[in-house]
């Protein structure tokens, strides 16, 4: 006996993500799913962002890592509410993981919640977690071939933050090629050049965040 099913396998995740989104929206929390490869500087941009928005809006952070709580400690030391998820090997965060930990944050007092995904340029783009937008971080040291090698991540993101621009003189990375290829894949992509080490460009990024959160 054959029966037709025709169901998206990720449906359960998408349904949970929609529920998460509703909870966040009802509480007035704007949510950004922050994605990048390992070592691009996700926690560093969060540290800079925390300093940049201090006194203007309240942040919260969900940290996703395979193991360890180093990142959560860095955020906590800056006085921002943070909860750590250890995926225990999974290469991405999914909507259920967010659902389980969200109550540990004082959501009512948070204007902007960053969900720092597991460092990986492939899988996180496939799984919605209940975010308003996805933001991708790419460091110059990763090379200018990344947009065309990992197109989905660039296509799904609203903004691309190019970190470690202070390293440009020491690498062969062609930042204009990164921008050209990224925009070809996603013409609406908003691009920021920053250095978390020197603080260059952080102002523009922070101002943009303040604009979208106030909307």
């Amino acid at each position: 006996m054959k029966i037709k099913v025709v169901t998206n396998i990720l449906e359960a995740n998408d349904r949970l993500a929609a529920e998460n989104r509703k909870i966040f929206q009802d509480l007035g929390v704007y949510v950004i799913n922050l994605m990048s490869g390992p070592g691009a500087g996700k926690t560093s941009i969060l540290e800079q962002t925390i300093k940049g928005v201090r006194g203007k809006i309240n942040l919260g952070v969900i940290e996703g890592d395979i193991a360890g709580d180093d990142d959560a400690r860095r955020i906590e030391s800056l006085g921002v509410p943070v909860v750590q998820i250890n995926t225990g090997g999974a290469c991405h965060l999914d909507a259920n993981m967010i659902r389980v930990v969200m109550d540990e944050l004082p959501l009512k007092g948070i204007d902007l919640l960053f969900i720092e995904n597991v460092g990986n340029l492939v899988c996180p783009a496939e799984f919605n977690v209940g975010e308003d937008i996805k933001v991708m971080l790419l460091s110059i040291a990763e090379g200018h071939d990344k947009p065309l090698k990992y197109p989905l991540m660039f296509q799904e993101s609203t903004a691309l933050v190019l970190n470690k621009i202070d390293l440009l003189p020491y690498t062969n990375a062609d930042i204009e090629k990164i921008k050209k290829d990224s925009l070809s894949l996603n013409p609406k992509l908003k691009i920021f050049d920053v250095s978390c080490r020197t603080g260059e460009g952080i102002g523009d990024w922070v101002n943009w965040l303040l604009t979208i959160v106030k909307k």
Partner: protein, 114 residues
């Protein structure tokens, strides 16, 4: 990389459907997996075999129908189909502004139950 959670998801959906419709077991499950879905068929089969023992799908065979990437080029107005896992430019004119129509599927299509 995340084939285990995909296999878990598809088993849950299949078993749920089987129970709801009052059947005892699943003989086969047919899935449509797009080439650009990021899911490797071999890994999915492996994960499925590892997860099915002890469930209603204990004896089930997983049949994977791979869907190629197809789409439309906004520049030269042509339709295209490719066999790669990704497409970044039009195979005909090389332009990068594309509309992708198929290739991202991750669907259960049908199953045989008893």
């Amino acid at each position: 990389m995340h084939e285990v959670s995909i296999a878990q998801g598809l088993l849950e959906i299949a078993i749920d459907n089987c129970k709801k419709q009052g059947y005892k077991g699943i003989e086969s499950i047919k899935v449509k997996i797009g080439k650009a879905s990021g899911v490797m068929p071999d890994s999915l089969l492996f994960a499925f075999e590892a997860l099915k023992p002890g469930t209603m799908a204990d004896k089930a065979v997983l049949i994977i129908d791979e869907i190629p990437i197809s789409g439309y080029c906004n520049s030269c107005s042509s339709n295209f189909t490719v066999n790669d896992a990704y497409v970044t430019e039009c195979p005909k004119c090389g332009h990068m502004s594309l509309r992708i129509d198929t290739g991202r599927e991750l669907n259960i299509d049908e199953m045989e139950v008893c």
